[in-house]
Symmetry: C2
Subunit: 510 residues, 2 copies
């Protein structure tokens, strides 16, 4: 049952959602179709939508609907109360946050994001940080203004990270990331000290890559009636409506597995969105039907990318398909493909990184954005500071800014506080995988049988439907019975590293 006040609030929420999803469509078009000269006008459109969403979310009318709904909670049967309280508390928090923000700031941020994205593209293409630097400065200035207006009892970085990871703090990230800082460098060192055959570089045409991505998506349940795959400079996943799920990838001939793994990754995001309470659920359109945190979101994308597509069993099944599509097998045998899927040497690019170095890329970005926001690191010093930290964490140095601090899209859109979610995603994915295996047996056996749908069914039962009933850490506690920790991830990674090094050594001695 529901009350009249709840129904009125629901209709208001639904309209806000329709409006916000228009912004998603403008963004999708901007990155997949729009010609470059369209950027200025698109900025005005996005700013207008952001302004309208903000107006709705902060309108006295919304406040009245929310208060009436809160008052009506006492009319609900006891067994429904807890969910509704959580639901309305999330709306109340969001309402309070939005009401703190000056509409002029919301507008300026939306315009700065569009301009930032456009200039970032230009700067990256011409390897010239100075093109992007003023836009980044402006974004930081506006975000700090936002922090002032929000006036939370948190640091600036923590405040900006809340929408991505509710309740996250520097302290808790310190606890979770310390074991990574302690043990990952040893593992990287172990790789360095193990000699291995130089892998001759190989390529795969864009068409072959498209073909394999298509096969993967088909195998993993891609439904053309509800889903779309397109191309954009930076792969992403977005939900445009309750029956409209989109992902993008991009093919690079000299990184022949990049598009394939990115497709697995983005499809994992999309599967989570598809598994949230949908139009047939009473929670559709309410916060309880939304994704709970970016860390959980990333845990789902990383599950499909790393735990499945990068598993040994997967390469055993797919080596033949790869060879058929490519008309050759320059990677060698099944284990050769597995080794190629799992680069161990640290590289320059986060999105191409294997599981071993990925979290180190994240630690670097977390440190830099905290410095930019909280310790007044001048924007002009970012490229050099990036190089210093790359050398420190990963022992490699970019030769230009495009493979350095311009490699990621996030900062160009003013997204600060997001990167740690990627590392949390690794930890959550590993801990959920342990619980899944305890329940339905080894994942690799299901992959070997081509029955990944059984793994999806488990996620659809235990993880996806929870929505925002729980935050990221509560979800892990609820599903696995333990607090989140780095242990399952590091344990899994150490075992996998041994296997991979053994194979590489064997290949060398053959």
């Amino acid at each position: 049952m529901s009350t009249a006040a709840l129904e009125q609030l629901h209709e208001h929420q639904r309209q806000t959602r329709v409006l916000a999803s228009i912004g998603s469509c403008l963004y999708w078009d901007q990155t997949t179709a729009m010609p470059p000269a369209g950027a200025a006008w698109r900025g005005e459109q996005l700013a207008w939508v952001a302004q309208q969403v903000h107006n709705r979310q902060t309108s006295p009318h919304h406040g009245e609907l929310l208060a009436a709904a809160e008052d009506s909670l006492s009319q609900l049967p006891p067994e429904q109360k807890e969910d509704w309280q959580q639901n309305l508390a999330l709306l109340r928090l969001e309402y309070q946050r939005q009401c703190c923000l000056d509409p002029a700031l919301v507008n300026a941020l939306a315009e700065a994001q569009a301009r930032g994205y456009s200039l970032w593209q230009e700067a990256k293409a011409s390897q010239d940080f100075s093109i992007f630097a003023p836009a980044l400065e402006e974004l930081i200035r506006l975000r700090l203004e936002q922090v002032c207006q929000l006036a939370e009892t948190r640091s600036p970085w923590e405040t900006l990270a809340q929408p991505f990871e509710p309740h996250i703090s520097h302290r808790r990230l310190g606890e979770l990331f310390t074991p990574l800082r302690q043990r990952l460098p040893h593992m990287v060192e172990r790789v360095r000290s193990t000699s291995h055959p130089a892998q001759p570089p190989w390529t795969m045409s864009r068409q072959v890559q498209h073909n394999l991505c298509g096969q993967l998506l088909e195998h993993w349940g891609f439904d053309r009636r509800r889903c779309v795959l397109a191309t954009s400079p930076h792969p992403f996943s977005t939900t445009m409506g309750p029956q409209d799920f989109r992902i993008t990838n991009r093919t690079l001939t000299h990184q022949p597995l990049s598009a394939f793994l990115a497709t697995a990754h983005e499809w994992g995001h999309s599967l989570y969105e598809q598994g949230l309470p949908g139009e047939d659920s009473p929670w559709f359109g309410w916060p309880l039907a939304e994704a709970t945190s970016m860390g959980v979101h990333e845990s789902q994308s990383l599950f499909w990318e790393n735990r499945l597509a990068r598993s040994r069993a997967f390469s055993q099944v797919w080596a033949r398909r790869f060879a058929q599509a490519a008309g050759a097998a320059p990677w060698g045998d099944e284990d050769g493909l597995w080794v190629a899927m799992n680069p161990l040497e640290p590289g320059l690019t986060r999105v191409e990184a294997g599981e071993l170095s990925y979290c180190l890329h994240v630690l670097l970005r977390y440190e830099l954005e905290t410095d930019l926001l909280e310790h007044r690191l001048p924007v002009a010093e970012l490229p050099e500071r990036w190089c210093v930290l790359m050398e420190h964490y990963l022992g490699v140095t970019p030769s230009n800014v495009s493979e350095g601090c311009l490699q990621d899209v996030h900062w160009s859109e003013g997204l600060f506080g997001y990167f740690p979610s990627y590392a949390l995603g690794h930890l959550i994915s590993a801990q959920l995988a342990e619980a899944m295996e305890a329940d339905i047996g080894p994942m690799e056996a299901h992959v070997a049988a081509g029955e990944e749908h059984r793994l999806l069914a488990w996620l659809r039962l235990h993880v996806h439907p929870l929505g925002r009933r729980v935050n990221g850490e509560q979800l892990v506690q609820k599903v696995t019975g333990r607090s989140l920790s780095a242990e399952p991830f590091l344990h899994y990674l150490e075992l996998k590293l041994e296997q991979l090094l053994t194979i590489r050594t064997a290949a060398q001695h053959r």
Copy 2:
């Protein structure tokens, strides 16, 4: 100079334009990218935007700004007055029209259009008119409701046609179309009575067609920084912002020239839009910077499609490029390509029709939509009535509804009153071409020299910048010094027909 009141109105207009262009983006995405199941949600988004545009256009605030601007006209220098009066009169007319409409109707129409488009696609794919019929009935009902609310001293069809062709009437169309009704059937009969060699059917792969379309656009000045080409079931052109021009086509292997000619057509539309007063003009954002009528718009698309791409000189230049791209020349020599570009035998499909039968396709649709709107032709009888008229006008009968009354997108989106603009476009194009040739010499000589840019320069000087200073017929009077008539078109067509028949006969006797 401008007045403060004019500047305030301008800013309001600009924001309305930003908002309306969001609708264009949603529509573009719907037809080029969206998965089918996204249709319902997209309908809600489009309805929301339409409602917002309507709210802005009918708001008391807009009315006040407009009245203040009208009052301020007396402050303008005399030489600026006429343009400003025309400008504000167009806004006033639009404001009055919009104020007549009930917001609930505007909303219902937007939703019915999205639903109609979706069901039309489904009906067309499954050759089942009954899937689409209820949506068409609803669209007609809503359009007649709109006619009632507008309460103009015009017939229902005339009222709905005004936005496409200002000041058009059944009477004037009767005058212009009578010579077509009288002389085109004789020409069709002349083709029938002339025996000709059966052209063996030939195909061209999608990739070859894409390649040729790309070559054409490059030759005709397609600028990737401002322009986009994509694929949609029904080719169209749209302007998303002042620096963002988009066209679509679609390739059909068994209609090897279809995509090429559609590309020429849509690019002609886009060139007109690109030639209207832009951001550097004081009229940008005002009605005077807008396209004046769909007839004029079609005259520009038909100019590039028929007068250029279907000219003999064009085939002489392009036959070699076609042969290189296709790796063969199943059409024969240069004149063989020209004959293939200009089918004379009447067919079932409007968008594939040559110049000879095109206007007959339009007369049929004009008659049918007048019957649906003004003479209570039941929707259920449309498929049969379509077949009767096809037999009457063109001597051919569709074998299913998908190549019959479901072939065009227009009615699925509730566009009634649009079709005659296509025929007017043929007449306007021919009359403008006569004036152009009197000025800069034979067009075919410029095409032969690969200098189509000289023709574009003439249009950019004499036609495109006029915007809505003049309506369609006034434009023709201004540019050619004569009233619009069917004579230039029929004269041109008769000459071309003789040439084509001579070549076909010669080919037969070889």
